[in-house]
């Protein structure tokens, strides 16, 4: 009896504490009939009834849903060219694949359902039927310490250069290397070299150990190779490969950026930093705003490449400077990317009446504001206003390199105004940095927003990557956020707390003094009024 209890406790403990090791053993008690029911209901819409990755949603997706019939999987713990373990498949289903349309299913399907669906997915390929194959994960060891030291990052960087990462991922890791425009996956779909500055979008996870695993196993079916053989050839040690992983990890923020509603623009004295690389910007808080495809008006766009924009703002009481930074692997227009753009447009479904044609479009960014600061909560329509309620926008383009201001009346109509903000821009190894400067007040008060400190001013952002075929309604959009011009703290803010504190302290002393006077008769004095008064 006691033994059985102990056994159950041990089993329970094992199930709770080590689910991953438990999955390493082949799955048992799987029911492909039940798995098929789960698959048909939840997976087939993208992955297709026959598992070929051709469900109804697939044509609008880039990257495409996995084609299970080939049994080629990117995210594995097994050697390059090997089948994935059941734990690998389970982990992709549980956690989803960040940066793609694949969501996490852990909280949506029971463990039994997820195990059954894995059994069913494996029936799509005869490779899994061959039970003579022994699918074992590679041994990965542990991350060596000191990964954030300057020496470790330097070692990592030296191998980044020497083993050829930069050919595709670029000098600074934003996926802008010279080979990037040529990349295709094994199915012939265009594929982007990952932007290593956005680890929260890495399909296999953004931790250093995840990066190390991808370097060891490669991403099968893509141009990303495995580097395990370089260790076998003694070109680099296992520790050096870990250093490379730590270097790659160091390129991204420590955590996925949090989206905050209000951009605070501190007030500075003197002139504003009008240059994108002015050192002042390093001291100003930056805000991340995610951008997603414009899927609201025809023609829609399902495959934007700009996943978000970093925004900073400062003002000096007379002018406002706004700095926008975003990752864009191409300095558009760029003829080197024209063939790639064509492949993207051929791959991603559209609802144009005629198929879109690849062209040499510029990169663009738009900052959208209402014409007037709203008093209530009502604002113009977030997607570029409407005919009757337009929005005021600044539109920057890479070619010609300029900014115009105007009124947008929906996606189709943009009427330029006479005055425009000053702008300066740099494209630096896959990143645009643009600073827009305008006076807070302007003569055209009817159409141009008049900035006032201390108010929440609605603001939205839009971006186009020209080399991804983006122009017109094919763009990445944000919802409304807010911009607030902060004011220096007025002195009364410091007076009130001091007065309150003095009153509290006085009251405290009085209470103590009275209590001691009352007690004094029986105990004699000598307790003192209070520690504060005596010292």
């Amino acid at each position: 009896m006691t033994n059985r209890v102990m056994f159950c406790v041990t089993l329970f403990g094992a199930a709770v504490s080590t689910p991953l090791t438990a999955y390493r053993s082949p799955l048992t008690a799987q029911d492909t009939v039940k798995g098929k029911a789960v698959y048909v209901k939840w997976c087939a819409g993208c992955h297709g009834d026959t598992g070929a990755g051709d469900g109804a949603a697939a044509p609008a997706m880039l990257p495409r849903p996995r084609n299970f019939t080939g049994a080629v999987y990117k995210i594995r713990t097994t050697a390059s060219g090997q089948l994935p373990t059941d734990a690998d498949l389970m982990s992709a289903i549980d956690e989803g694949l960040p940066g793609s349309a694949m969501p996490a299913w852990k909280a949506r399907l029971s463990e039994a359902e997820r195990r059954d669906v894995i059994a069913y997915i494996k029936t799509f390929s005869s490779f899994f039927a061959d039970t003579s194959q022994h699918i074992v994960p590679l041994g990965f060891g542990k991350e060596p310490g000191g990964g954030t030291s300057a020496q470790a990052v330097k070692t990592g960087r030296s191998f980044y250069d020497s083993i050829g990462c930069r050919k595709c991922h670029g000098d600074q890791g934003r996926g802008d290397g010279p080979s990037a425009p040529t990349l295709k996956d094994d199915a012939g779909f265009p594929i982007f070299a990952a932007d290593l500055h956005q680890s929260w979008r890495f399909r296999g996870g953004g931790r250093t150990e995840d990066i190390y695993r991808r370097l060891r196993t490669g991403l099968d079916g893509t141009p990303m190779p495995s580097f395990s053989d370089l260790i076998d050839q003694k070109f680099l040690t296992d520790e050096e490969l870990w250093r490379l992983s730590q270097y790659v990890r160091s390129l991204s923020p420590a955590r996925e950026p949090e989206v905050r509603d209000v951009i605070h623009a501190p007030q500075l004295g003197g002139t504003l930093p009008a240059a994108p690389d002015d050192t002042t910007w390093a001291r100003v808080d930056r805000y991340w705003f995610p951008l997603v495809g414009q899927v609201i008006r025809k023609p829609r766009w399902f495959a934007p490449t700009v996943s978000g924009v970093w925004v900073q703002a400062v003002h000096n009481g007379r002018e406002l400077a706004l700095r926008l930074c975003w990752d864009d692997r191409t300095l558009s227009p760029d003829t080197a990317w024209l063939a790639f753009e064509r492949r993207v447009l051929e791959t991603v479904a559209s609802d144009d009446s005629t198929p879109p044609v690849a062209g040499l479009w510029p990169d663009q960014v738009a900052v959208q504001l209402p014409r007037h600061i709203p008093d209530g909560m009502e604002r113009p329509y977030f997607l570029m206003g409407t005919g009757t309620d337009p929005v005021y926008q600044w539109r920057w383009t890479s070619e010609p390199r300029r900014t115009v201001a105007g009124l947008a009346r929906g996606l189709e109509q943009f009427d330029t105004l006479g005055a425009a903000p000053e702008s300066q821009a740099v494209w630096d190894h896959g990143e645009w940095r643009v600073v827009l400067t305008r006076s807070l007040a302007t003569p055209d008060t009817a159409n141009e927003l008049q900035f006032v400190a201390g108010r929440a001013i609605p603001v939205a952002f839009f971006a186009w990557d020209g080399s991804n075929g983006e122009h017109g309604s094919r763009l990445a959009v944000s919802t409304w956020y807010f911009l607030a011009l902060d004011q220096p703290t007025p002195p009364r803010v410091f007076v009130s707390p001091v007065v309150a504190m003095a009153l509290t302290l006085g009251l405290g002393f009085m209470v103590v003094w009275r209590a001691q006077r009352r007690a004094g008769g029986s105990r004699g004095t000598g307790a003192g009024v209070g520690a504060g008064a005596e010292t």
């Binding site: 209901k41 939840w42 819409g45 993208c46 109804a56 949603a57 793609s100 349309a101 969501p103 949506r108 989206v259 509603d261 209000v262 605070h264 951008l291 997603v292 495809g293 899927v295 609201i296 025809k298 609802d351 909560m377 009502e378 113009p380 329509y381 977030f382 997607l383 409407t386 201390g454 108010r455 929440a456 959009v477 944000s478 919802t479 409304w480 807010f482 607030a484 902060d486 703290t489 009364r492 803010v493 009130s496 707390p497 001091v498 309150a500 504190m501 509290t504 302290l505 405290g508 209470v511 103590v512 209590a515 001691q516 000598g526 307790a527 209070g530 520690a531 504060g532 005596e534 010292t535």
Partner: protein, 268 residues
């Protein structure tokens, strides 16, 4: 029930003052840390925490002052704190601490910071009785899904509805119909969660038809039409396709639409 506590601890546990302190600490821990852990709940806002704590404090004071002897014992440690020479250091720390706290709270009150204005939105605004769909009029009141009239062809309509959903709705409303699609984080308000019992589960199919056909731009003012990213689907889909996708929404989530028989007056 006899709790076996060491004598020193028992003295504290039986003392009304320390009971009161214990209750307050317990209440704080429950409100701030335990409530957010309960399924379906969220972090308690600071102002609500303050209200809870004030209520608990009043209750505790009523309890300790309810009986003369208990009230006297309750005041003992406070009196000792004010008078005992050996507690001079504690007295100083308490005085300084309270003073500092008052300063901080006051600073927090007078400091002005610009916050996003509250987004007050009616989630299910009253629908119109009639809409115009691509130029012809559709009466919503009393309207049921016409595709349900022929149960034998339901399977075929579901196939169409599923295809429509995956081609159009997926980026925002997601694979699980939970409003967590891969574009969801880009929009505010976030897309509707059809798995939740507060959306399609309590709506008639004609309401859902109206929301799909007219989208964000067709919302009345209380629905904040300027924020919604919901497209006006009459520009993309036929009436029949919309009814098909509605069939799919209910079939996939397992909810049944609210029916007109059960509806008291017009849809709220």
């Amino acid at each position: 029930m006899s709790l076996r506590l060491p004598p020193a601890l028992r003295r504290y546990a039986e003392h009304p003052f320390w009971q009161a302190v214990g209750l307050l600490v317990l209440a704080y821990v429950v409100v701030v840390f335990v409530i957010p852990l309960l399924p379906g709940s969220a972090i308690v806002p600071k102002s609500v925490v303050l209200q809870y704590m004030a209520t608990v404090l009043v209750g505790v004071l009523i309890y300790v002052s309810d009986n003369e002897e208990r009230w006297a014992r309750f005041k003992e440690p406070l009196g000792a704190l004010a008078t005992e020479p050996r507690l001079k250091l504690v007295r100083g720390v308490v005085l300084a601490g309270v003073t500092g706290l008052v300063g901080l709270v006051t600073y927090g009150q007078v400091r002005t910071t610009v916050a996003a204005p509250p987004n007050l939105r009616s989630i299910h605004p009253a629908p119109p009785t009639e809409i115009t769909f691509r130029g012809h009029s559709v009466t919503l009141t009393g309207l049921d899904n016409p595709l349900r009239q022929h149960p034998e062809s339901a399977a075929a309509h579901l196939v169409v509805g599923k295809r429509i959903y995956y081609q159009n709705c997926l980026p925002c409303h997601g694979d699980h119909l939970d409003g967590q699609g891969h574009y969801a984080s880009g929009f505010n308000p976030i897309p509707a969660n059809f798995q939740d019992n507060g959306t399609i589960a309590q709506l008639t199919e004609s309401f859902v038809f109206w929301r799909i056909a007219k989208g964000g731009p067709g919302l009345p003012r209380e629905g904040t039409p300027w924020n919604s990213a919901m497209p006006r689907w009459e520009d993309f889909l036929t009436e029949r396709e919309i009814w098909s996708v509605i069939l799919f929404l209910y079939d996939q989530t397992g909810w049944t639409p609210r029916t007109w028989e059960k509806t008291v007056s017009s849809e709220r």
